[in-house]
């Protein structure tokens, strides 16, 4: 599994979604240093969620007869539904604040896309 590449791409995607949503309301040119600095906490969030919630599924279930695409089709639907539910509840719990919408939307999109990137990796 190409974890480093996946984490890099997921961090970029999560940052783009997060600042894209937040920027639609509050972004100013003076925020630029914060945007760059935010890559560090976003990377930590992305790495921890991908390593804790996605990688173990591939590590534990991957076999010769059960490749990454089959793992994706078998487990991703439930993962997506659970993560979507958690994100929606968190957004409602935070009274639809723009920060919560930006954070949880980026979490949902980047984790789902991370699954796609893992599943699309070439088999050794």
């Amino acid at each position: 599994m190409n974890l480093s590449s996946n984490l890099g791409k997921s961090t970029l995607l999560a940052s783009a979604v997060f600042w894209g949503i937040l920027g639609s309301k509050v972004l100013q040119i003076t925020f630029m240093p914060f945007v760059l600095l935010s890559f560090i906490p976003i990377f930590i969030c992305v790495a921890s969620s991908v390593i804790v919630s996605i990688c173990p599924i591939f590590w534990l279930t991957e076999r010769e007869s059960f490749n990454k695409k089959r793992i994706f089709k078998a487990y991703f639907p439930y993962y997506a539904i659970v993560v979507f539910g958690i994100c929606v509840l968190a957004i409602i719990d935070n009274s639809f604040s723009i920060l919560a919408i930006a954070f949880f939307s980026s979490a949902f999109i980047s984790t789902c896309q991370s699954w796609v990137w893992f599943a699309k990796e070439e088999q050794p």
């Binding site: 309301k25 695409k69 089709k73 639907p77 997506a80 539904i81 896309q113």
Partner: protein, 470 residues
């Protein structure tokens, strides 16, 4: 062409929902979603199940427009998910339709992305379109045009004035993001996907029990003896309980709402425990080959008797609940008791059919979920706030006016109309007037997307009052 259709749908989605609460927009969204599903999956709409789901979805959308209640919105969302699931696979169980519909709606894009065929199509499209060349064609001229516009505006005051007049305020980034969300939703549902292997597994399981090869008559005889003894004694116990309950109902003179409440809730707790245990016991004994055992007639009859006695228990609880409602009025909790009683009755009926017709556990899950689903749709067709208010003020012996005032604004007009016909305090009258005025103001301030039936009935009231003045 197909992308353009989704794009148009996404723009309409924004037009309907951006910055609006629900009302007419949810009904129009139902039509839009149905048209999109039809456009992409015309063949699937030849199936009767899909057509029925479409009708149910449209009906739930009409109910949102008429009642605008949380229950009708919830029913509408569930119908949407069911319809998408039915388009995915119409032959699956209702809960699989929900799973497929929900998955399609929230992550269909990611699923299709992984599909090999789709991926190869995408790569062909990319090769044909030559994406880097397209990026250069769009990106480089834009960069240079911006650069030269910035340069030229320094050198010519007329040109600068012209540039200063260009106003980009109409571009609302949040509106664009909202449209993008609409695009994501419509692109997800346009080609519904399946959750595998759950869907295949569901399709392969029939509703009928099959006799297995390891058929030991001796062990079945022992099981049959145990079942007969257990169910026989339980029937006797339940019969005694029901007789004492009938005596207590006849002797009951209750003047306090709290006492009656305790009696109804204790009865409900007994009912919950009794029905759950009854169903588990019956399912245990009739889980396999005992269904095909030649000498199972007594056990079957005892099971049917046990089910009938539980139905009698339900009737007693319904009588207590009705006494409670007649004396102290309707509330959501008391209606909830009736819903629970109805669902329990259906649970017992399906258990009876399971034993009678040799059905399996899948049959129980499928039929009960289907009934629960239909019940939700039917319940969302009633304006409960209005119904509770009307019943309490016209038929109940006693009522709690503060409870009625605290209900949603959907009873505001009725409360206002009936406030002089009941004995209430001046403070309560003022609270009703305030609630009415607030509701009328809210109705008048709604945008066209948020309109519902009450807006039109308000217009009718205005027209009538104007004609009276003339």
């Amino acid at each position: 062409m197909k992308q353009i259709v989704i794009l148009i749908a996404a723009v309409l989605f924004s037009l309907l929902f951006y910055g609006q609460s629900v009302g007419l927009n949810l009904a129009l969204f139902a039509v839009l979603a149905l048209v999109l599903l039809l456009f992409y999956n015309l063949k699937k709409f030849r199936d009767r199940g899909v057509l029925l789901h479409s009708v149910a979805y449209l009906l739930s959308a009409v109910l949102v427009f008429v009642h605008r209640s949380s229950l009708s919105v919830m029913a509408n969302l569930l119908m949407f998910v069911s319809l998408v699931g039915a388009v995915s696979e119409s032959q699956s169980s209702i809960y699989l339709k929900w799973l497929n519909g929900l998955y399609t709606s929230i992550a269909g894009f990611f699923h299709r992305n992984i599909d090999r065929q789709e991926a190869s199509k995408a790569s062909n499209w990319k090769q044909k379109a030559d994406l880097p060349q397209l990026a250069k064609l769009i990106g480089i001229p834009i960069v240079f045009i911006i650069l030269f516009v910035l340069l030229y505006r320094q050198g010519n005051p007329v040109f600068e004035g012209l540039i200063a007049r260009i106003n980009f305020d109409f571009i609302n980034l949040q509106w664009l993001l909202f449209t993008l969300m609409g695009y994501y939703l419509f692109s997800n549902i346009a080609q519904p996907v399946l959750v595998e292997p759950a869907t295949s597994a569901d399709l392969s399981v029939s509703n009928n029990l099959l006799e297995t090869a390891n058929f030991s008559e001796a062990s079945l005889k022992k099981e049959q003896q145990l079942g007969t003894t257990l169910l026989g004694l339980l029937n006797l116990l339940l019969l005694v309980y029901i007789l004492t309950d009938i005596i207590s109902i006849n002797a009951m003179i209750v003047s306090k709402a709290s006492e009656l409440s305790i009696q109804v809730h204790n009865g409900i707790n007994t009912l919950i425990a009794s029905i759950i245990i009854a169903i588990i016991i019956i399912l245990y004994f009739f889980r396999g080959n005992l269904n095909f055992y030649a000498h199972n007639r007594i056990l079957k009859n005892l099971s049917f008797l046990w089910i009938s006695l539980n139905v009698a228990l339900i009737v007693l609880i319904a009588i207590k609940n009705q006494n409670y409602i007649g004396a102290f009025g309707l509330t959501y909790k008391r209606i909830g008791v009736y819903v629970y009683i109805f669902m329990t009755l259906i649970g017992l009926l399906t258990t009876f059919l399971k034993v009678l017709n040799l059905k399996n556990l899948a049959f129980l899950f499928r039929s009960n979920t289907q009934v629960a689903f239909m019940t939700l749709l039917l319940l969302s067709g009633v304006n409960w706030d209005r119904r509770i208010t009307q019943y309490n003020l016209t038929q109940a012996q006693d009522f709690d006016m503060d409870y009625l005032i605290k209900l949603s604004n959907r009873n505001a007009i009725l409360l206002y109309d009936l406030k002089d016909s009941v004995a209430i305090s001046e403070t309560q009258k003022r609270a009703i007037e305030k609630k009415y005025q607030y509701y009328i103001q809210e109705l008048q301030q709604r945008n066209w997307q948020e309109l519902n039936y009450d807006n039109f009935s308000l217009d009718l009231l205005k027209t009538e009052s104007n004609s009276v003045f003339k």
